[in-house]
């Protein structure tokens, strides 16, 4: 009897030890990602510093001059444009699902929107390169150019030859990819609005839109912020879809019809071709900056969503 109990205790310790090590592994992996990327970037950090690196527009493998400004610019511009398109559309989708959709259609529409997130990014890339980009360059972009180019200043955004492989196409594809993330979190947040609040608003004669605008959206603010930041993290780190349609050009673009480059695309295209140590180290530095931005954004988003759930 005593030996059985002792054996059970050993097993118990063993099992809890094994499961604990597996959980602890997450911390180990995250720490080693940061440490190893930092160690690999040391050479570039020594050569260019931090502010020197992020403010320099140079990207010249031959003369070994590297800076992150062009890729950071490309990353941020495509991400922000994608958000500008995706946020209103996703809010609309969430409103449709929670307020307007007939009950039997709800799960179907929800699943369909979430399937957009399940399509792998390489498929978005294929579709973008062979179907969407030609469509943009043949029909959409010439039309936009005709309408907007004559407007002073604003027209600058629509100059250049519309080839379809550019910032506008990329941002639209990114916006499709991040829409399901915002839509599903906002939908869940909307559902948390107390019915009493909504009914009081209806009771004093508010229309359905006024209830959404003045009760549900203010009530869901933190959830909406959280979802937008998560979507931003997604867009920053998206690689393959962007690699197909952005053109990988290291320059500060001034028109929506210019090719550009993001951190992820630069990594994907140049990592295996980097022929000098400093070149490779600069690429690792880019990866480290991307990881840092992403981690920070996600931590903020988690904070917002935790506040929502309280």
């Amino acid at each position: 009897m005593a030996t059985t109990i002792k054996r059970e205790q050993t097993f118990e310790k063993l099992f809890s030890g094994i499961t604990f090590s597996a959980a602890f592994l997450i911390l180990v992996i995250i720490a080693s990602i940061f440490i190893s990327l930092f160690r690999e970037s040391l050479m570039a950090i020594d050569s260019f510093g931090f502010f020197g690196f992020v403010s320099s527009t140079a990207w010249d493998p031959v003369r070994e001059q590297f800076g992150a400004a062009t890729t950071l610019y490309g990353t941020l511009v495509t991400t922000i444009l994608a958000l500008v398109v995706a946020v209103p559309v996703s809010l609309g989708i969430a409103i449709f699902i929670t307020e307007l959709c007939p009950k039997f259609l709800k799960p179907i529409v929800s699943t369909a929107i979430e399937l957009l997130a399940a399509i792998p990014s390489i498929i978005y890339g294929m579709w973008g390169l062979f179907t969407f980009a030609p469509l943009m360059s043949d029909c959409v972009e010439p039309l936009l150019q005709k309408i907007f180019e004559p407007i002073p200043l604003f027209g600058q955004l629509f100059t250049g030859v519309p080839l379809g492989i550019d910032i506008l196409t990329t941002s639209i594809i990114l916006s499709i990819m991040i829409t399901p993330f915002i839509a599903s979190i906002v939908r869940d947040t909307f559902a948390l609005t107390p019915v009493q609040l909504k009914e009081s608003a209806y009771g004093i004669g508010a229309t359905r839109w006024e209830v959404i605008k003045d009760v549900m959206i203010p009530y869901s603010k933190t959830g909406i912020f959280g979802s937008v930041i998560i979507a931003m993290g997604r867009a920053l780190g998206e690689t393959m879809a962007v690699a197909f349609v952005l053109g990988n050009k290291h320059a500060i673009a001034t028109s929506l019809f210019d090719a550009s480059a993001t951190i992820t695309v630069t990594l994907a295209n140049e990592f295996t071709e980097a022929d000098s140590d400093l070149y490779l180290s600069s690429l690792f530095y880019l990866a480290l900056i991307l990881l840092g931005m992403n981690f920070l954004l996600l931590a903020v988003a988690k904070m917002f969503l935790a506040r929502r759930d309280k």
């Binding site: 294929m126 998206e238 393959m240």
Partner: protein, 283 residues
């Protein structure tokens, strides 16, 4: 009279906004159908037996296939699953049981959520730094490792959530019979959470099956059939990227066919996973 027009205006704004919301939902569905129909239309025409049965032909030659890429993809995914799933389930077990009210447990749980969103290409650069560079060559193992790292937090979080759904009273009933905690977990909690964990595994496989970026500089690519995990290994996704960017028409056709296969596989798994969840947790 003034009042009436005020009400009319509010009603008009209401109608307009709600119609825009409907339009937004329509737009979302439109993109989904547009993309899927496009992949279907392009891909299905090039699905031939040769695609699965023959290896790559020299560029420009007809009659090549993607057998090497299919086998490479299967092997890389298989090894990733072998590494990632046990670790994810065990870690999730600690979070849901022993670490349930532990501060460290909550912290690890939050960090895994963040890790799920780390760009997959960053994981690729990490594996390159710690595995490919020291060994001096690309390998199938490195690719599997990268995919496993992506998979672990996904499996871990679903396991934690699904085990958390098993009512505490069931554990207490087992404790009352004198069972030690590990037996309660192995024989009672796992049984209750099995369907949920299984679904989590399906969704995690669906997630890594379409990954390209982390394979670019880990398993790299290869035009030949290999089953040696220690060599550079072709995968379906990297092959799609290479073929789509290449100049030959038959490469594009094969890239479409491969895209079709991968899309059907991933959407199938995702929908299956959702149906299982709906069926299991309906009540």
């Amino acid at each position: 009279m003034n009042l009436m027009s005020e009400i009319g205006k509010r009603k008009a704004v209401n109608l307009l906004s709600l119609s825009l919301a409907c339009a937004a939902a329509g737009l979302g569905l439109f993109w989904l159908i547009f993309i899927l129909a496009d992949v279907l239309r392009h891909g299905i025409a090039y699905i031939t037996p040769e695609l699965f049965l023959s290896e790559a032909a020299p560029p420009g030659m007809e009659e090549g296939g993607l057998k090497h890429a299919f086998i490479g993809q299967l092997l890389i995914t298989l090894f990733a699953v072998l590494i990632g799933i046990p670790l994810g389930i065990l870690g999730g077990t600690w979070l849901a049981e022993y670490g349930r009210h532990h501060k460290l447990g909550r912290f690890i749980s939050t960090l895994s959520d963040i890790m799920i969103s780390v760009p997959s290409i960053v994981i690729g650069t990490f594996v390159y730094a710690v595995f490919v560079k020291p060994l001096g060559h690309f390998s199938g193992f490195a690719g599997a490792l990268a995919l496993a790292i992506i998979m672990i937090p996904v499996v871990l979080r679903t396991t934690e959530e699904m085990m958390g759904l098993v009512p505490w009273e069931i554990r207490e009933a087992a404790f009352a019979l004198g069972a030690p905690y590990y037996k309660v977990i192995l024989q009672v909690v796992y049984r209750g959470a099995a369907t949920g964990i299984f679904t989590g595994i399906l969704l995690a496989i669906a997630r890594i099956a379409g990954e390209t970026a982390p394979l670019l500089f880990t398993s790299f690519n290869n035009m030949f059939l290999t089953t040696n995990m220690n060599e550079p290994m072709p995968s379906l996704t990297v092959t799609i990227y290479q073929y789509a960017m290449g100049p030959y028409d038959d490469w594009h056709e094969m890239a479409w066919a491969a895209s079709f296969v991968i899309t059907v596989f991933i959407l199938g798994l995702t929908i299956l996973g959702r149906l299982i969840i709906r069926w299991k947790y309906k009540n």
